[in-house]
Symmetry: C2
């Protein structure tokens, strides 16, 4: 009896009641931290701690066993030694519990004996209709209902809310590991599959497909369990939302290490690549990108074509940006006549792509008074589908104001993505300007290459969605003001 | 008559006297900023401002023309309109000046007329034995003598001193653009070639080859002027010091933009790649890497082989690191028996690579008391040639102390590189720990992939230098405490 995936999947993210079986000793890991975190994150469901050695924790009554709980629960967390998991699962089954997060390690990732234990656990779950996330997982998060049951101390409880769902086969994606508040990556859901013994990428993709809080899905995978189903599900989901995947275990040695880490079965990288292409999935290259690339999808409209406009204060970066763009099929835009003559009118030689205002800045006194009109001209240009803006944050006190004034009037007017790189002699000044622009809804990346890559992947997804040059699909205008609020 | 390259090149970096021809109006660009910066950076040579409209600037007497100078100078800066450059150069020639930095733009990067002007300028320089950096350049820096004649306002004057020389065809590398103080990239020399009409990468490589303050050379190029000479010089220099090159204009469109930017001639990327391989040059992929990759060469010994040891608190990153390592020929090390039994003694399953202390941390109370011995065991292991350490900066107040105590005793003991990635729920905490480790002389990179790349390029350079497995070449031990002092 395999339980209905979609219905039960909801219990992992939207439970009305949870049980937590584990130690409640204070420390940086365990049931105590988990309960403290959900309480402080504002979760309003009922919470039942379970441990025969305690009577009360954090003001909650502790029950001696799952059998003694006053009611069944939507979801149970097991943070106990591996050998005790199956007996407790039997109690769970007896109480009609249908969803379990098994945080415990010591299963397939440890050794053959652990692998055997894991098989027994999965078989039991199947028989009783209990879906399992894990084992060896750091769990799940849902920011919509304050459900942040992280078993590791992160030092904070509320994640920034936003449209990005992050799923992974490593605890590296959880709040204790990645600085979500500082990254300004607004999150809808997090799911750590752990050893992925039962609930897998396909189950969660199907759940996220219908989750209104999620606009972009970002996943780290060490393997896929069912290639055929993954392809089917991907094809459907990627027509609605971009799905970004970082896959490790690409090399033989990496695959071997992955087997130790989560007991993953290897899949040939060329095969996986073909599945991604057919399924409309966009592959990423680094961990950072899991959290950074979603920003453009969360806030910017898709481009209608591959013509990149570049505005820059430094010619060298313009040249690099063109090279980088070519990797993703972006071409440098050829500006309209009216843009050319407007720019040439300000400074001879400025009327071409990349629009390099470096020489102008040194020679034309009121370049910065003209800056908003220059940026607007590039955004308005009908030959430009996507825009990279490179800004020098080194003009003194009023630099931030000048740039924010130039961006403010662009909000919501153009059906094309705009990404920005801010640089300068002082990192804090550059970062402060970046935050200001992101607060307006325009994403900023930490280097020029990442900006171009974001535009390139946005163009790639436009093609996947059939959104490009055909022009048949109405585009949102930018920005969609999601996910850049500073975290609480 | 072409002047003796090496002798005159010294004048650009070690002048006893300079003349500055330009405007002395206060602003963010020009002669005023240049003179203010060299004065405040502590340059002790004689400075002669030249401009008929001024009598005094920053306490210095201003001369009406180069002809009126009381003495000849080692180096002249021209920050005047393009059309005036040649007439002033005639005065310079008459006064016996042999080295000129032409900051002025409006030459080959502008249009055909500018290209013609540039040809005239170069021909004149050749005839009179005047070497020229530029035009369209932001100049040079030498931190050894406080010579920081940057024509752009950077907000600071003293760059952090260190062993890294940075050369480029864009002003992006200059103090006003890159946050050298924050990047903790200790600099020996900077040279912006600008349009590279005369002094080029080969001239500067030959100068840096013999510069005792420079241990690593990092270059951004849009083209090379003389392939044959570049290959000859590279072969010689790379046997002494690593030479890292980022080259743009890789694509046709990029090359076209590069022609507009600095008037560079394109060179086929496959050809350039072959030259780099033969010349022992290491190619980089991003601007950031120009400033980040040198750290490992500046502070760590070269590895004797390709066996990478990994210590991590998160298995997912271990898997990624192995995949990344494979790109650079790194293999995962198989630890010695004594390392394995020591680790298994602490926690079953810990005695293998990557050494994942994540499960141990959750289960073994005194993991952190044992941490220094674990790190030392990996560093001591004879089967390990290079080490990646992944640290979780989320343990509360005393995390930094614990890690610093573990690193302190490693200083100067092992002939193998150690790089570290620090991560955690709070960026500032992770950064503070990173700075602490770097102050001890161990480089930290901003993501795990960059750490592995640094190790991989270090291994590649060991091969170039003939330093690897043969074991014939004595290795320095780490760390070499250079370049990580916080900037002044």
């Amino acid at each position: 009896m395999k339980a209905n995936g979609k219905e039960i999947l909801r219990r992992f993210f939207e439970p009305q009641s949870i049980a937590v079986v584990g130690s409640f000793k204070e420390g940086f890991f365990g049931g105590y931290v988990l309960i403290k975190t959900v309480l402080e994150a504002g979760f309003r469901g009922r919470i039942f701690p379970v441990n025969p050695a305690y009577r009360e924790v954090l003001g909650l009554k502790v029950y001696g066993s799952v059998k003694e709980l006053p009611e069944s629960v939507d979801l149970v967390f097991l943070i106990i030694n591996a050998g005790s998991v199956l007996p407790v699962m039997e109690d769970c089954a007896a109480r009609g519990i249908r969803a379990a997060v098994v945080v415990s390690d010591g299963f397939a990732e440890r050794d053959a004996e652990g692998g055997h234990l894991q098989e027994e656990l999965v078989a039991f779950g199947r028989k009783k209709g209990i879906r399992i996330i894990g084992p060896n997982t750091a769990g799940v998060v849902n920011t919509a209902n304050g459900f942040n049951p992280c078993p590791y101390e992160a030092g904070y409880h509320r994640l920034p809310k936003g449209p990005v769902a992050i799923c992974s086969q490593t605890g590296m994606i959880n709040p204790q590991a990645y600085p979500y508040r500082d990254l300004r990556c607004g999150v809808s859901k997090i799911c750590d599959f752990g050893n992925k013994s039962d609930v897998d990428e396909c189950d969660v993709l199907e759940y996220l497909e219908e989750d209104n809080d999620t606009a972009v899905i970002s996943m780290y995978l060490e393997g896929i369990r069912d290639g055929k189903r993954f392809l089917d599900v991907s094809k459907r989901v990627t027509k609605k939302k971009p799905v970004l995947v970082l896959k490790s275990g690409r090399t033989q040695e990496g695959a071997r290490a992955s087997a130790s880490h989560t007991g993953s079965m290897a899949v040939k990288d060329t095969v996986f690549d073909a599945v991604c292409r057919q399924g409309g999935i966009i592959r990423l290259d680094t961990f950072q990108e899991l959290f950074q690339v979603p920003k453009i999808f969360a806030s910017q409209p898709l481009p209608r074509g591959n013509r990149m406009g570049i505005l820059t204060v430094t010619g060298g970066v313009g040249v690099m940006a063109i090279d980088e763009g070519a990797r993703y099929g972006l071409e440098i835009a050829r500006p309209e006549e009216k843009t050319i003559s407007m720019l040439e009118g300000i400074f001879p030689g400025a009327g071409r792509m990349p629009v390099d205002i470096g020489p102008m800045m040194a020679a034309v006194k009121d370049t910065f008074a003209r800056y908003p009109r220059i940026l607007e001209a590039v955004m308005t240009d009908q030959n430009v589908d996507a825009v990279l803006n490179v800004i020098w944050a080194g003009l003194g006190e009023n630099a931030k104001d000048i740039y924010l004034r130039a961006y403010e009037p662009l909000k919501g007017r153009f059906p094309k993505p705009l990404v920005t790189w801010t640089y300068g002699p002082d990192s804090n000044t550059a970062r402060d300007l970046a935050f200001g622009l992101e607060d307006l809804g325009f994403p900023v990346y930490s280097d020029a290459e990442s900006c171009v890559k974001a535009l390139g992947l946005s163009f790639r997804y436009a093609q996947i969605k059939g959104h490009d040059a055909s022009g048949k699909h109405p585009s949102r205008t930018n920005p969609r003001p999601l996910g850049f609020k500073r975290g609480g």
